[in-house]
């Protein structure tokens, strides 16, 4: 059996096991989740090693570990899987966030069984999306990943959870409406004379190249590229479709925020890259400027908005808008360096924001407030959590030695390769977000970690316990590892990027 299918099968087995366990036996459910989570992590680690070994051995195929099973003969739909360097990085990121999410979720006491069942369905969607090479299967997994969010936020969330859950679901489903039309357009119009209809991404890419060589009319790309890009861009929190993100993140339970900001938003970036830009390169080339403007606004606007928020989760949600905007921004620069940086930023932001949300959840669980005006001096009370918060903050503002620096550096170096005025202006605008990031991160750190203790009840709070420590130390380890030794990762990613850059 194909190793990639394991990413779908393991969570399915876990779901089956948990479904059979009595809902009252919470520790048993948690144990199953942890074992399964580690199995997924081990699988993705093994996959990474195998992938690097195969590339080392000189296997230059575009996608490795491919497999294809015919599903719907009429439409030529396959269950087709395969990975390149980009997807391997994404799978690794997902596995790290999932396992840490499981540990953070140990504190869920209400309806534990249902919570983890939805959680697993969400991760099936995420994994399935990253391994798919077939547009139909990909879209199916994409939607599978969206719907559990509604119940996860609506049931286990906090604050105005019902409003946020509905807003998030409807906006993301709106995105998928754009996307679906885009997929139909690609499916029916990408066929050269005498070719057959296909959903397979690789075959479509080949077909589109043939079409270009034949000098065929490519005006369809200019209709369906914006549709597809916006469809995925909604999930990637592109301005002006980002408004679901702050509310959704703020209301979601901790582990769901982690998974959502850490992985699910990356589906948007990955989709823009793999579907919109890869399959419609002509339109991507010509229309990129529109989206550069929009994502440029995301980057700066997100950062400024974060500065004025007082709720910890909102601060981080807007910071996510800014950072995810940077991902799309860098993708649209369409050269190897910037795009590699974009994927690095996806990984780095995924880890960083997961760490942030985990820490915020832990602090909130203790202080019962997320308002920064009501907190202060927490460093004295819970040193471990607070030191980790500082580390996360430093990674976010791009301190050398941590993952954020590697990603942002690569992005801006790559983006600066463009010499025209338009790109220069937007790159410089984008760069300012780094400074603003420093402002809001340091403001929060100074306000809640140092200074006098605001609330005397906070003086009696306890520090992180064992499962929380496992979660945050895993994430910090990953962030530092990428920061210290980024080369293997960026080389792996660059291998995948090369195939698409040559199309532009």
């Amino acid at each position: 059996m194909n190793i990639l299918s394991l990413f779908v099968i393991i969570p399915l087995i876990m779901m089956a096991i948990i479904f059979c366990i009595d809902g009252e036996k919470k520790s048993m459910i948690r144990m199953v989740m942890s074992i399964g989570g580690f199995a997924l992590l081990a699988t993705s680690a093994y996959l990474t090693v195998e992938y690097l070994a195969a590339r080392e051995a000189g296997d230059m195929a575009e996608f490795l570990f491919t497999d294809s099973i015919l599903w719907y003969e009429t439409f030529n739909i396959h269950y087709a899987v395969g990975v390149d360097g980009v997807s391997v990085a994404m799978l690794l990121l997902s596995s790290i966030v999932v396992i840490t999410g499981v540990f953070v979720s140990y504190s869920i006491e209400e309806q534990t069984k249902e919570y983890f069942l939805w959680f697993l369905l969400l991760s099936i969607g995420v994994y399935g999306f990253f391994i798919s090479l077939d547009l139909f299967t990909m879209f199916l997994f994409y939607e599978v990943a969206l719907i559990p969010m509604y119940l996860l936020i609506g049931l286990w969330g906090s604050g105005k959870k019902e409003y946020s859950a509905m807003k998030l679901t409807l906006m993301l489903m709106g995105g998928s409406a754009f996307l679906m039309v885009g997929i139909f357009g690609i499916y029916y119009l990408s066929v050269p004379k005498g070719g057959s209809l296909t959903f397979n991404i690789q075959e479509i890419a080949a077909n589109v190249t043939t079409l270009t060589e034949q000098g065929a009319d490519n005006s369809w790309q200019y209709i369906f590229f914006p549709l597809t890009f916006v469809g995925f861009g909604v999930l990637g929190a592109m301005f002006p479709f980002h408004t679901w993100s702050p509310d959704g993140h703020a209301s979601a339970p901790t582990a769901v925020s982690m998974l959502h900001a850490g992985v699910l938003m990356k589906l948007g970036g990955y989709g823009c890259f793999r579907v919109a830009m890869y399959l419609m390169p002509d339109a991507a080339n010509d229309l990129a400027w529109i989206f550069i403007v929009l994502t440029g606004i995301s980057v700066v606007y997100g950062a400024y908005s974060a500065c004025v928020q007082t709720d910890l989760k909102y601060i981080n949600a807007y910071s996510s808008v800014s950072h995810c905007g940077l991902v799309l921004f860098a993708l649209l620069m369409m050269n190897k360096t910037a795009m590699t940086g974009a994927i690095l930023q996806m990984v780095s932001h995924g880890l960083m924001t997961a760490l942030f949300f985990a820490l915020i959840g832990m602090i909130y669980g203790r202080t019962h407030t997320r308002d920064i005006r009501e907190m202060g001096g927490l460093m004295k009370v819970m040193p471990v959590l607070c030191v980790c918060y500082v580390i996360a903050g430093l990674a976010s503002l791009g301190l050398p030695g941590l993952s954020g620096f590697v990603a942002e550096m690569t992005i801006f170096v790559g983006a600066f390769e463009h010499e025209d005025m338009f790109h220069r202006v937007f790159v410089i605008l984008g760069c300012t977000s780094i400074v603003i990031t420093a402002v809001y991160i340091l403001r929060v750190v100074g306000k809640i970690l140092f200074g006098p203790i605001q609330d005397e009840h906070h003086a009696a709070l306890t520090d992180a316990i064992w499962y929380e420590k496992i979660a945050i130390f895993t994430l910090i380890f990953a962030i530092a590892a990428i920061g210290m030794a980024p080369l293997w990762l960026s080389n792996m990613i660059a291998g995948g990027i090369e195939n698409i850059v040559k199309l532009f």
Binding site: T74, L140, V144, G154, A177, F184, G185, Y187
Partner: protein, 472 residues
Amino acid sequence: MDYSNFIIMNHELSLVVVLVALLLADLFGKNKRIFQFFAMGLFLVHTVLGFTHWNIGEASAFSGMYVTSEIHVLVKNILNIGTLIVFIFAFYWNENKNKNQVGEFYFLTLSTLLGMYFMVSAEHFLLFYIGLETASIPMATLVAFNKNKKESAEAAAKYILTAAFSSAVMLFGISLMYGACGSLYYGDILIKFQSTPLHIMALIFMFAGIGFKISLVPFHLWTADTYEGAPTSVTAYLSVISKGAAAFALLCIMIKAFANYPGTWQTFLWWIIVITITIGNLFALRQKNMKRFLAFSSISQAGYIMLGVIAGTPQGMAAMVYYVFIYLFTNLAAFGVISAIENKSDKLTMDDYNGLYSTNPKLSFVMMLAMFSLGGIPPFAGFFSKFFIFAAAAEQGQYLLVFIALLNTIISLCYYLWVVKAMFINKSENPIPTFNSDNMTKIGLIICTVAMIILGFISPIYDKIIAISFGM
């Protein structure tokens, strides 16, 4: 007279046998419970036998008024399956609340089914009209079955009046068609139809008649009241079986009789689809009664079904038949849950469903699956049927229409999620108490649930349907 013609009408003949047997059993049998099992057993045999009729192939009878082919057999089988599930859900209601008219319920329901068979198989407008009337008039009686409820009588009056009106409109259209073309065979009309005002008027009048049956906007005004007032089992039957049969018949007419001038009818069908989906959805947003809510939801679903008609290709027909097939299990699951709750507690509004998950988790689970499947959420079957019907329309270049329909699925998702929210998220002071459904309801719900979960993954079903479909 050549009697060999009758042989090809396997489905109809076997259903007539069932009808006669039920009539006799009702006369002489006293025990209603045994009668119900007898009726269902007999119909089950009829349904199973239906699957053995594949081998007839294409054949026609009565100088071409009646045709059958594999796709006709398949559609009739689908209608059978749906009717059987409706019977399963109606068992408890028949036994406890409809004691005195059990025989009539089965007899009348199956009579309408017979009418639908003829509608589906017709190749001549007169036979089509007879089928339509046979399907409509007993239906009005069924709607009026709750003798003690005023709403039921009102619903029946609304239904019969609109049915009569639409029949009249349609007959007018048919007579104009006869005057213009000199024949009522679909095949002759195909040749003689032209794009003159007279022909187009005939077409539009006829279309309006069928539009009432499928409850397309603007011919939908009877739907909500009738659905609300009718007994829940009858509503379920109306919303799925009756609609599916009429939609297929419409597709056959459009393909067989008007294929030469697709532009004339596709233009107004385009607008009808857009307003049907949109208005159905917008009104569904405001409903508090579950049956009214599903009525408007089924109006918008009818709009999606029409996407297959506007495509008019084999792909469109296959997607439409498949859509009806999936829709049957999904919608019947929703009605099954509603009737189970109504039977036990007489509660019907959405607010009553608050906190249902805490008291009746299994029912809420089935309802949630039904809502997700209706909304087109993967991995449930509704996603696949929606995707295919959109693909069929997109294949014909109807990207704008598909886009509008897709935007509408977001609105529909909103109200489907409201039901889920009521059951899972909302808290209630006095939720519907925990109860045990009767075994028949359980069987029906299990069938529907399994179908919703696995049907999408079984690709040979769709591949088989497309192999036997035809189109313009």
